[in-house]
Amino acid sequence: MSLLEVTGLRKVYVPRAGGSRVEALRNISFTVERGEYAAIMGESGSGKTTLLNILAALDRPTGGSVILDGKDMSKIKESAMAAYRRNNLGFVFQDFNLLDTFTLADNIYLPLVLAGRPYKEMRDRLIPIATTLGIEKLLNKYPYEVSGGEKQRAAVARALITGPKLILADEPTGALDSRSSDELLRLFSEVNRTGQTILMVTHSVNAASTAGRVLFIKDGVVFHQLYRGNSTNGQFYQKISDTMVLLATGRNRE
């Protein structure tokens, strides 16, 4: 059984003040296997963010189902949703979403504090993760004192510390310079090698080329997908790039 099964997902926005309905997702179906590192690519307005919001249980689909580890997420009650999200999903956002009133360590602790874990356990979990991510010396600094790349690494640590089934990353390199981007992507691959499942939404070919599989979304459907197979990052980059060109030059869907 796959870790994540998305079947026939549909999302229609009905504007409150009348006007035309917007169909953000038409019919999305895909699966993510355990330990996989998958990327979802698409232009702005292709429905990426809507899809991610539904996967993150921040939004409800109009139709279709999302099954995570055998559990249908639409069946989870609203009241239990936050706890479910906290225990099963880890998030990495484009704009980091670190709280500026916390030190990096406290930011990373946040999900565990919310889960009511004792301090000692939190610290024991933090140290190996912070070492892997290379932020162990920055833990007592505030977000405004560190660089973007360091912020994002702290955000990754926050996503990892609960040991989630799935990490959802939304344009994680979107606000980073190329050096920090490469460093972060290297860390993603490294984390993935330890068995962590990652689903990343991006429109950066470079970011997508580090994944094991890339799904292309256009106009609310899964348009195409590419497997890395045995290609190197460079070869995979080329393949993705070609597909993007194909998509952009507007060849219609079969």
Partner: protein
């Protein structure tokens, strides 16, 4: 560029940001209205009739300046918030080619518009409400009133002048902030991370020291004259105010840091978020909280001291006037007290009263010889033992030549009481009289009541003295005090109606006259004064409570806007609505009830000072004052809890996004 352009831009900016400008202008209007009302009361003629009007005017004047300072603090506090949310707009103007001077002009216009609206609306509201305040006051002191709307031009002038200065200060503050900023920093203004304030132990402790010093002065100040006592009170108040501000600003940060060090406390879902965000906001929060604390303290002190004054005076008044009516028939002939004169007089008096529907109850009925002379240290009131026992309901006994005495709070240390040739050995000094004052006609506290068994001998002895009516004077009285159970109006009516029949009785039985007293008649003036002071206390308290509620509300509103993105992030990371609520509650409880607790502490330490100030009004009744003060504290705390409930709901709606943005 034309001037019309800037005014348009400014007006537009206010309109577009009405979500934050509306409450801001509303607060300004209310503050200005309150300032006007207080200064109106200071200038109005309606209070010139009250005894102690100077003190009242002094208090009102102080109240005015407190409000002015408070307005300044509040406007700056609110302005910091306003500017943060508008920096982006100014940054855009800057990028589109307006220089700092141009932006300065926009800000000038904006300030001018806000100031104009606030001052005009504030004055209108203030003038409207001041009439109610005046009517209430005039009703309490029972003066003549009319329903014409009066405007005190001096007060209007004061209000306009003070607030123009406040708004100019605000403008300078804003200009300063803009001129030091760059376009980029303006654009990003809303997101710039604030440095966490450092905990300053020295400053935090010095606040506590100042507070303790203020408390110490309040506890120990013991000066004979009212003036020095007021001066000491003023110093204590000043120390406590400064101490409160420093403690709240520096002390609160210190406290948060200490809480953060305590890992078991800090890493709890309910405390984690609130403590960490409080560290950041404490610098601004501290000033707001201190203002709240000071305002609550003012309300507590004002209401409790004026209530003590009113209830204390009423209590003393009832002790001094235990019965509704008091009649004191005065004669120069001792024979009227003996024999059949008194019973006959009493029968006729009762008949006269009954004709007017009054049946005496709870009466005190006793004879009294009031003796004194220029060479005597004290006046003596001689009361026959038998009369005393009946009136007081006691069974005291005396041998001939013995006496009980009662001193009205003065010193008397002798074993005997004597007047020319007669001497009584003092058997005991009574702890209380049949009632506290012999009657309200006792003016001099040097009087001593002497209860004697041999009344008739005394009267004969006095009359046979060679000095009688030369250097020894005496009157022979019959005192009759009673209740009627009539309404206050009927009592006053009876009091007037009974005059002629009483005069007739005096003539018929050979009395020189009758001292007639009515509690209702006597109470009027005294309560008018205390009632007036109490009313002013209530008005000022309403003003201060309104001010405190304003800050609390504005604080919640602005912090709600600021915290919204923060809680949004937490929701994404997996915080439930319940957890958000819990975290908010933890923060609110700390932030809200700290000022209340400190205000209560202030009140407790101010209590001895209040008592001493009340002594200036000849009032001392500690148990009563404690009860009054405690109930005032309880009422204010309850009111505060309601405000807390309502405003924390506003805040919660804001951060949880229940209330959709317009």
């Amino acid at each position: 560029m034309k001037t019309g352009f800037y005014s348009h831009l400014a007006a537009d900016g206010i309109r577009k940001n009405k979500r934050i400008y509306f409450p801001y202008i509303l607060m300004c209007v209310v503050l200005i209205a309150m300032f006007y009302i207080v200064s109106f009361l200071r200038y109005t003629d309606a209070i010139s009739g009250i005894v102690g009007v100077k003190t009242i005017r002094f208090t009102l004047n102080l109240g005015c300046w407190v409000l002015a300072v408070f307005s300044c603090v509040f406007l700056f506090y609110a302005n910091a918030f306003l500017m943060r949310s508008r920096k982006k707009e100014f940054g855009l103007y800057n990028i589109f080619g307006m220089d700092k001077g141009n932006i300065g002009k926009v800000i000038e216009w904006e300030t001018a518009i806000v100031a104009f609206i606030s001052i005009c609306a504030g004055l209108v509201l203030g003038i409207a409400c001041s009439k109610f305040a005046e009517l209430g006051l005039v009703k309490v002191i029972g003066a003549e009133t009319n329903y014409k709307l009066t405007v005190e031009y001096e007060a209007v002038f004061m209000t306009v002048a003070v607030y123009i200065v406040v708004f100019i200060l605000r403008l300078l503050n804003t200009q300063g902030k803009i001129s030091t900023a760059t376009a980029i920093s303006l654009l990003r203004g809303e997101q710039t991370g604030e440095r966490p304030p450092r905990a300053n132990a020295t400053l935090g402790l010095s606040g506590v020291v100042l507070l303790s010093l203020g408390y110490f002065i309040a506890m120990t100040a013991n000066f004979s004259s009212a003036r020095t006592l007021l001066a000491a009170a003023f110093i204590a108040v000043l120390l406590v105010i400064v101490g409160t501000y420093i403690t709240m600003v520096a002390g609160s940060v210190l406290l948060c840091r200490i809480l953060q060090k305590n890992k078991r406390y800090y890493y709890k879902p309910a405390h984690f978020v609130s403590v960490s965000s409080m560290v950041f906001r404490m610098k601004r929060n501290g000033a707001g909280l201190a203002s709240i604390c000071i305002l609550i303290t003012m309300v507590l002190v004002m209401i409790s001291s004026t209530a003590c004054l009113l209830y204390g005076a009423r209590f003393d008044f009832y002790v001094d006037n235990p019965r509704e009516f008091t009649l004191d028939f005065v004669s120069s002939d001792p024979d009227v007290l003996n024999g059949t004169v008194l019973p006959e007089l009493k029968t006729k008096l009762l008949a006269a009263l009954e004709e007017r529907n009054a049946v005496p109850k709870n009466s005190y009925d006793y004879r009294l010889v009031n003796a004194g002379g220029p060479e005597w240290e004290r006046d003596l009131y001689f009361i026959p033992l038998e009369d005393y026992n009946i009136a007081a309901g006691t069974q005291l006994t005396l041998e001939p030549g013995q006496a009980f005495i009662f001193t009205f709070g003065n010193d008397f240390d002798g074993d005997t009481v004597s007047i020319k040739g007669m001497e009584w050995k003092i058997k005991d000094s009574l702890e209380k009289f049949m009632y506290a004052g012999v009657d309200a006609m006792v003016v001099s506290k040097s009087t001593i009541a002497v209860i004697i068994p041999d009344h008739e001998e005394l009267t004969r002895a006095i009359v046979s003295m060679p000095e009688f009516n030369k250097s020894v004077f005496a009157s022979f009285d019959w005192v009759y005090d009673f209740d009627t159970g009539l309404t206050p109006e009927e009592q006053l009516e009876l009091y007037n109606d009974i005059r002629d029949p009483l005069d007739e009785l005096c003539r018929e039985y050979g009395f020189m006259g009758v001292n007639r007293g009515s509690r209702e008649d006597r109470g009027g003036d005294e309560f008018a004064m205390y009632g007036g002071i109490f009313f002013l206390g209530v008005v000022l308290s309403i003003v201060f409570v309104a001010a405190a509620v304003l800050i609390i509300y504005y604080k919640q509103l602005t912090e709600g806007f600021e915290d919204k993105p923060r809680f949004e992030t937490m929701r994404k990371i997996g915080m439930t609505g319940g957890e958000i609520r819990k975290s908010i509650n933890s923060q609110m409880l700390t932030v809200f009830f700290f000022p209340l607790l400190l205000a209560m502490a202030h009140l407790i330490f101010a209590f001895p000072l209040i008592q001493r100030l009340l002594l200036v009004f000849k009032l001392s009744n500690e148990p009563l004052f404690s009860r009054v003060t405690a109930s005032v504290g309880a009422v204010v705390a309850a009111l505060y809890a309601v405000v807390y409930r309502v405003t924390s709901n506003t805040y919660y709606d804001l951060v949880s996004g229940v209330r959709k943005e317009r």
